[in-house]
Symmetry: D2
């Protein structure tokens, strides 16, 4: 089985740990390649393989939720991924380092995969990208200059002013959407969780919408707005735009480490 | 097509309107029977048929959401139901009186049904009942004497003290669960929405759990607790109990009046 | 200096500890009397003095916040009180047992008092009582059968339906009002904190009203309502009533143990 | 009595209305001057007087809450101000145009003033400015890159990560702080209302702190942060800073138009 290792590259101790994982995997008989930037950061550019070209069977993301999100975003086809947590409590990076040896030994016998819905955003003319956790629509400065209209199955069902709007997946319900006051949503659902940021009307509460619905978000903004996908980079979208939100064709594929989602939520909330 | 009429019986003007609906349906060629209590209230006891014995093809509930909830609760088999709203903005009672004639004329040509999940509650030894909107677990007096443990797929995932706990369906997300601060949930989902009432820890936020999960609620209470199903009656459950929450075998069956769920939410919120 | 000891009487280990405190105070030269029920629970009925008749200079309440609240409620004139915490993190019971000896040695040299506003509730015809933390208006069963109208300075400023209404002091902002979603309010303020319980409209948010305002609460209820003062006992108030909320003439008087209020809040929140 | 008129200048119809008010005031015997920018916008630069130099007795602000906030911010000494509302429901701009004639006729006989606390922000080395509604601490992009420590009377009482922090006055409790989930606070209080924006921990709830407290806010930020005072302009504050929050020496002075604060709140909430 061929594995591709991707590591957080701004922390030397995480990079060093990635080297350990590599040696462990080799000792178990895995083939191991390094993701391009990780290879460069380790001074082994020649061993690098990019996520959008690799033929690896699985991807191992070492760092935290951010590293897993990055890996998923960079893949062209969705390869099964497992995250190893080297930071704060992680949701997507499920494995703690102590669990790593047993996990990879067992993996050679049996692998259970879990699919996680992603959302795809587009305008009439352009595909904007996918997100596993959430897309956030904001301006550069908070001040309710954004007016949103939510259109479901062709009907304008809500209109509100807010500092921004989070469009999250159930997977993302434990990330930014939670700070915005959203509920915890079982990732077994396929749906869009809408959470307004500092809405002008308090009645604008979180909505959870089935992924089979036709969902559009109309935006009028006094200043150019932007979309941030999974907390990384930002796509400018101008001042007047209609966004279409869809379930992405290809869900993310996680290797199931057997953790209970709701128990992770509890542990995270208690560790805050 | 045989219809059974059930009306709110504590308002004479609603009863009078029920008589109008009866005449209208007869003029369209429907067979019409009256639900037992409605018949008595109209002084026509001999025309009464009880909801748990009727062979009607459809049930027409006249009044408000409470009348629809009552009708669904009293049916032995779930007969398609349509509600006519004679009170405040209704969610379940979809038809306004002005829409009634056209609706029933068209119904003879084509009927679209919408299934709505219900929840079934039981203890180890006893079936407690079903709810279309929600089951609420409370004591007689608010004072955080209730300690809840949520067990999902055999794992204790949360523990908290609260004045009570709402276990709602997506349909019920716009009812009592909304007052408790829960999100609006698309009724296309099959799931359990847990909303604690005045939780001692604020971190106890709403959870939405897929109906395929094995959900148990353990309760320790200083005083006898009770369960209220769809806001009607109450079942005593003692001071220490483990409740099993399941999707009820038989969903409620609504005759679709073509209203957009989210638009109804908006209208209701604006009419508050 | 004469001290009156009042202890939680339903926990033998707290009663035993109260005996220790008594011996400590005697060894420091304090005069010590026991509150009536405490004396009975200790089998020393003859040493009992009731809170509404005692001439003690200070009251020492041993147990938790509930014991302090009880002591304050039972005093006819407000005697300076200090609470010793033998339970969960306390707000009103400030002293931990390890701090007790140093505190009472120093107290003979210097005592700093802190006044804490209480609220007084009355109807047109009747004085209902005082509360240091909060008065809660509820019915026996949650179901939005209560309709509240808030009248400030003679103007009807809000009207809403809710399961109940908490009228708290700033001191009580960290108690039940916090579970209801209220803000943390500095006890240096003299004001009334209104927090609706599960309001039907979400726009009914917490209000903090200056104690100089003329505040009335009109209540219409389908079933008899009741008022619970500081979580203890309940006063029936019928189905239609206008309550007047005032600052009580006599504030509670606490002996200042030098704890920072906001730090206690933090510790309490983290210990949950 | 000399009045200075300041108008919203980006709406021709408001400027035209300002001309009407000027003629009305002249007909009542008031002396009238125009604020500098207003004069320029009206093509009467020679009639302009700047707010930081005028010797006017009262200021009339025509437009909405923004115009009133601007007027208060630009005054060197606080001159009594009255706002005329020409936009959405206003809190600070109390007069509706229909009430204008009667108000100014009566004003010549009797004027009641209401003082409204403002906050002053400073660092160790620099005075940053005053705010009547609120100061908001944010970065350019939401992503919890801000870590706040709240220090009250020299004690670190809370620490949290959030998208931003609103430091509002009671007057500002109905403005941006309300969108952030804060309570409605009677402007009779002198205090600081802290409302975190999208806090990472939900337990970070609104705090209301007496203005006699020594309040400091420590900020660590991954990217340069900024302070926005009353929604206008922004002051860069770098990535590591300790802010001191004080009650400003000079409160804003409003001419009381006899409106009930809480009734305005209700009307505003219902008009949303």
């Amino acid at each position: 089985m061929k594995t591709l290792l991707i590591s957080r590259i701004d922390k030397p101790e995480v990079l060093a740990y990635a080297g350990e994982v590599e040696r462990l995997l080799l000792s178990y008989g895995y083939h191991v390649a390094l993701e391009g930037s990780t290879a460069i950061a380790m001074g082994r550019e020649e061993d690098g393989e990019w996520l959008d070209e690799t033929d690896a069977d699985i991807v191992v993301a070492i760092g935290g939720d951010g590293t897993v999100l990055l890996a998923v975003q960079k893949m062209r086809r969705q390869i099964p991924v497992i995250g190893i947590n080297k930071g704060h409590v992680g949701f997507l990076a499920e494995l703690e380092s102590g669990e790593v040896p047993a996990f990879f030994r067992n993996l050679q016998r049996r692998m259970r995969l879990e699919l996680r819905m992603r959302i795809a955003l587009s305008t009439d003319s352009e595909h904007l990208g996918e997100a596993l956790n959430e897309a956030v629509i904001v301006t550069a400065r908070p001040a309710k200059m954004l007016r949103f209209t939510i259109v479901i199955d062709g009907v304008e069902v809500e209109e509100f002013r807010a500092d921004g709007l989070i469009v999250a997946t159930p997977t993302g319900s434990t990330a930014y959407a939670m700070s915005g006051g959203g509920p915890i949503v079982d990732p077994k659902f396929d749906g869009f969780l809408l959470v307004p940021l500092a809405p002008y009307m308090l009645s604008s509460r979180p909505h959870l919408i089935d992924s089979s619905r036709d969902l559009k978000i109309r935006l009028e903004s006094a200043k150019p707005a932007q979309i941030v996908l999974d907390g990384r980079g930002s796509v400018p979208i101008g001042t007047n735009v209609e966004l279409t939100v869809r379930r992405a064709e290809n869900p993310a594929v996680f290797i199931d480490a057997g953790k209970n989602f709701f128990l992770k939520v509890r542990e995270k909330l208690h560790s805050l």
